[in-house]
């Protein structure tokens, strides 16, 4: 029994699909949100077996969605300003870290919040960011260093 600590994907998908679509529509508009919706849940599917626990799945999938939206915007507008990333769907850990992480580049910010706000492992963060585990570790540590530097000056 204890092998199944993460809910079956069907239930996860049904629980979060509306929130994901809402976020993507706000970022990308109705039409482009549809492709991004598929991309988000396909990324989530790929990473799903590597999840170590079933907590914070909403934050996790919304992070994937934000990154899919960032990628989509980057593809369509090479120099798109991405600073708006992460202005919605704040939950407690987001809020607590917001004053420290707000100015960070989106990937570093996401890595720091997921690592230190939600206590996710690096491979979970990698899945959310669509990057390697090393890159996730790197993003978190660069982000933290940047925050420290800012605090100390």
């Amino acid at each position: 029994m204890d092998a199944v600590t993460i809910m079956p994907f069907e239930r996860f998908y049904e629980t979060h699909r509306s929130d994901v679509l809402r976020l993507l529509r706000r970022r990308l508009g109705t039409e482009r949100a549809e492709d991004a919706f598929q991309e988000t849940f396909l990324r989530a599917l790929q990473a799903y077996p590597r999840l170590e626990h079933g907590e914070h799945l909403r934050a996790w999938v919304l992070t994937i969605a934000r990154n899919v939206a960032v990628d989509a915007l980057r593809r369509s507008r090479p120099t798109a300003e991405l600073a708006e990333a992460g202005t919605e769907d704040r939950r407690a850990p987001h809020d607590e870290l917001a004053h420290l992480t707000d100015g960070l580049p989106p990937k570093e910010r996401a890595a720091v919040v997921l690592r230190y706000g939600y206590d996710l492992s690096y491979d979970q963060i990698a899945a959310a960011l669509g990057s390697s585990e090393d890159a996730a570790r790197q993003a978190a540590s660069t982000g933290v260093r940047r925050v420290r530097r800012r605090i100390s000056t």
């Binding site: 029994m1 079956p8 069907e10 239930r11 509306s18 919706f37 598929q38 790929q46």
Partner: protein, 186 residues
């Protein structure tokens, strides 16, 4: 924000086509009621009577892994063969079966069961004999009762030594319907 049926369908299709599911399932209508049919990349994993998503999702996750998704094309092959079977146009199934995680005795019994021909019946005792455990008729009965791929693995063709139907996990009515369809009960 409601996800439109079309968007939902496209995602499920893509997930099934890309092979990123541990197991895909769909609900398939049949003359013995709705069936929840599930398939993994290893083959047909289950056919359950009286679908109950809440219970069945967890059962599927335990069999195959957490990436369980309703995805109609994952079970296209099974659906087609089942339709042909119920239409009387198919007597044996060509589907690969996912029997992972089952004990060796269970697998041996199910493999013998698969060889019981269409329209014929055998007994629990005869099946026990064929797997080399002549005194294990009761254990064979338990394997039949827990058979997760009924119809395709034809436990409905197994009856008591005196010819009485004995039992069926899906209910005796269904056993009778299946045997009648095959012309085994006249």
């Amino acid at each position: 924000m409601t996800v439109s049926p079309d968007l939902d369908r496209r995602f499920r299709e893509a997930a099934g086509a890309l092979g990123v599911l541990d197991v895909g399932f769909d609900v398939v209508p049949s003359p013995v009621g709705e069936l929840l049919v599930a398939a993994s990349d290893q083959g047909l994993a289950s056919i359950w009577f009286d679908p109950d998503p809440e219970r069945d999702l967890d059962r599927l996750a335990r069999i195959a892994g957490p990436r369980v998704l309703r995805s109609p094309q994952s079970v296209d092959a099974a659906r087609r063969e089942l339709d042909e079977y119920f239409a009387g146009r198919r007597q044996s199934f060509d589907l690969r079966l996912d029997l992972r995680a089952l004990p060796p005795f269970t697998v041996a019994v199910l493999r013998e069961l698969a060889r019981v021909p269409y329209g014929e019946t055998t007994t629990y005792g005869a099946l026990a004999e064929r797997v080399g455990r002549p005194r294990a008729a009761r254990a064979v009965g338990t394997v039949m009762n827990r058979n997760r791929i009924p119809i395709v693995l034809p436990c409905h063709r197994v009856v008591g030594a005196t010819g009485n139907l004995v039992g069926y996990a899906g209910g005796l009515d269904r056993k009778v319907t299946l045997l009648e369809l095959e012309g085994a009960l006249l």
